[in-house]
């Protein structure tokens, strides 16, 4: 009797497992073909010289050595890190300031306007808004320089000077993405317990003291998350640079993504381009694990 029940049970389990694999299959097969396999192939390619005609060959760490010794690629690497650092700092701090400013009672129509104003740039492709900003940043016919001149300032070579071009791209990036972090921080701020804030107010703590002693420690996990998320996005920066400066003037704004595309599909240095992509993944990993490490030490839950 009990054997029959056990038999029936295991039949049911087997049937359920079979059904489960069928449900997972479409998703997993596509994932294996379009993510897993390409990642593995990219890693293999990064150790090889790819030549479909004469035959590819294994070159060990040559591609990586080239990346880390060549002046040009080092500048591109440095550009990417610099962009990442300033874009992350800008996005996270402006996002936090906006959230602090908006985290208060207000009429519904204002809330709608603020959401519209600060979130619309987030969901419109950088490819579109970069073209608009390209005209805003124009030297002679640019909207910004027009107003600068009207106000009596000297016009700025926003995109045509190697000193300012990167900064201009970062400013646009903050305009575009700060709203995203604002929304995340508003949600986090609303999670700060009221009792904690009231106690701090009772103690007569000033606004900024309350912020640094109570609010910031409370939301620090979210801040860490925001930093990692922003870094991963910023490391991949591509379209805003392609459209605003095409990597110039010189190489002053060229990022790793641009470099990968140029090396892989313009000069067909497939193996080398793959190694640049691998370096990018490793930087991703380093930032993510640094964050895990740092949050263990500093975050007070």
């Amino acid at each position: 009797m009990s054997a029959a029940i056990a038999q029936r049970r295991s039949d049911l389990e087997r049937a359920q497992a079979r059904a489960a694999y069928l449900f997972v299959a479409p998703s997993f097969a596509l994932y294996a073909v379009f993510v897993l396999a390409p990642v593995v192939v990219t890693f293999i390619l990064s150790f090889s010289y790819y030549d479909p005609m004469a035959g590819s060959r294994w070159v060990g760490l040559d591609n990586f050595t080239r990346f880390f010794t060549d002046d040009r690629s080092l500048q591109i690497f440095w550009n990417t890190l610099r962009f990442t650092f300033f874009a992350v700092a800008g996005n996270v701090s402006v996002g936090l300031l906006l959230a602090l400013a908006l985290n208060r009672a207000m009429p519904a129509f204002l809330l709608y306007l603020f959401r519209l104003a600060f979130f619309l740039p987030v969901i419109i492709a950088a490819a579109f808004v970069s073209i608009v900003w390209g005209y805003f940043y124009g030297d002679d016919l640019g909207v910004i320089n027009y107003y600068l001149i009207r106000l009596g300032f000297t016009p700025v070579h926003w995109l045509t000077s190697s000193h300012t071009a990167m900064m201009s791209i970062i400013i646009m990036d903050v305009w575009k993405n700060a709203g995203f972090f604002m929304v995340i921080f508003i949600a986090a701020l609303q999670g700060v317990p009221k009792s904690l804030m009231e106690a701090a107010i009772m103690d007569g703590a000033s606004y900024w003291r309350r912020f640094f002693r109570v609010v910031l420690p409370w939301i620090s996990p979210v801040v860490f998350f925001a930093i990692v998320y922003a870094s991963i996005g910023a490391l991949q920066v591509f379209e805003s640079i392609v459209i605003l400066t095409r990597g110039g003037p010189g190489d002053s704004t060229r990022s790793m993504s641009l470099y990968i595309v140029e090396e892989a599909f313009d000069t067909f240095e497939i193996g080398y381009a793959a190694s640049v992509a691998v370096v990018m993944t490793l930087v991703n990993l380093v930032i993510t694990s640094l964050q895990l490490f740092a949050s263990r030490i500093w975050v007070r839950y």
Binding site: Q16, A19, A20, Y21, F23, V24, P26, S27, F28, Y31, F34, V35, L36, P38, V39, T42, L45, A101, A105, L110, Y112, R115, L116, A117, F118, F119, L120, P121, I123, I124, A125, A127, F128, I131, V132, F136, L141, Y146, G179, F180, V183, I184, F225, I232, L235, E239, V242, I243, M256, S257, I260, V261, A264, I270, A273, A277, V278, T281, N284, T288
Partner: protein, 279 residues
């Protein structure tokens, strides 16, 4: 009491400042729409205008009549975004159902392997995909780009999380009654998923509409392009004077996303932020 009155003034001052800042944030969009209605001769006239001078759709007509196959490009974008959105809703919901509701050997490890995918940006997968597409004739075809995104780790994760937060008593009862798995999925689980699926659908549609890096590598001829890469092309061709035309094309290109945002503002914001909190 005095501090409370002071506090109210601070609140008001901050809100007024933020309203001003909000308007500044919107200026690029105002300029873009206003410019799309300007005559080509007036395009560079200063001061810049942020309100449309009239509602003359001549520039829009001119974009459609230009030598660039704008309508074809628009339809490519629509095709890719629609196929990807429907595809992800189906594949992700299927997989999420298995991960959240069924027991099978290897469930945790398979799910973990799928989550790892969130770590790899398109830059790490694009080269092999390009080489593979060249082999099988999918290069320069919009359907190729759509195929790449028929599923997503994030989508599976999102729907699974949502399912786990729902009671599963109904599904278990149906199982006891010996109902088939597909029937349980379709009749019981699916109807509960509406909030998660509308969020996933909206995020996927806007994300796909905005893809640039992948499209630029995989779609080269004009007839195969999508809108984001075509904008650059249009500007390149017409940079010297037809600013108003580029902005007319751009207005048409951003319209679907703006409409979605105006109609479902809360859903979009929740969806996009959720997609951020995936890690």
């Amino acid at each position: 009491m005095q501090t409370r009155a002071a506090q109210r003034w601070v609140d008001r001052a901050i809100l007024v400042t933020m309203a001003a800042l909000g308007i500044v944030m919107l200026l690029p969009f105002a300029w873009l729409f206003s410019m799309s209605f300007r005559s080509v001769a007036d395009a560079y006239k200063m001061p810049p205008s942020f309100l449309p001078p009239n509602l003359d759709f001549r520039n829009y007509r001119a974009v459609l009549d230009s030598s660039i196959p704008f309508l074809q490009i628009y339809m490519n974008s629509v095709e890719i975004a629609v196929i990807v959105t429907i595809g992800q809703l189906v594949t992700c919901t299927f997989a999420a159902f298995a991960f959240a509701r069924l027991k099978f050997p290897g469930r945790e490890s398979l799910f973990f392997v799928m989550l790892i995918g969130l770590m790899f940006p398109a830059q790490v997968t694009i080269i092999p995909i390009y080489l593979g597409f060249a082999q099988v004739g999918l290069l320069n075809r919009p359907i190729g780009l759509a195929l790449m995104y028929l599923t997503s780790s994030f989508g599976v994760f999102l729907v699974r999380q949502f399912m786990l937060s729902q009671p599963k008593a109904l599904e278990e009862a149906a199982l006891m009654d010996g109902a088939g798995y597909f029937k349980i999925f379709y009749r019981i689980s699916l109807p509960q998923l509406r909030p998660a699926l509308s969020a996933l659908g909206i995020i996927t549609f806007t994300q796909t509409w905005n893809y640039y890096f992948q499209a630029r590598v995989l779609l080269e001829p004009q007839e195969s392009m999508t809108l984001p890469i075509a904008m650059d092309l249009l500007r390149g061709y017409l940079n010297s004077g037809n600013l108003a035309l580029v902005m007319a094309a751009m207005s048409m290109a951003v319209l679907p996303v703006i409409l979605i945002f105006l109609l479902a503002q809360k859903l979009v914001i929740e969806g996009v932020t959720m997609s951020g909190i995936k890690n």
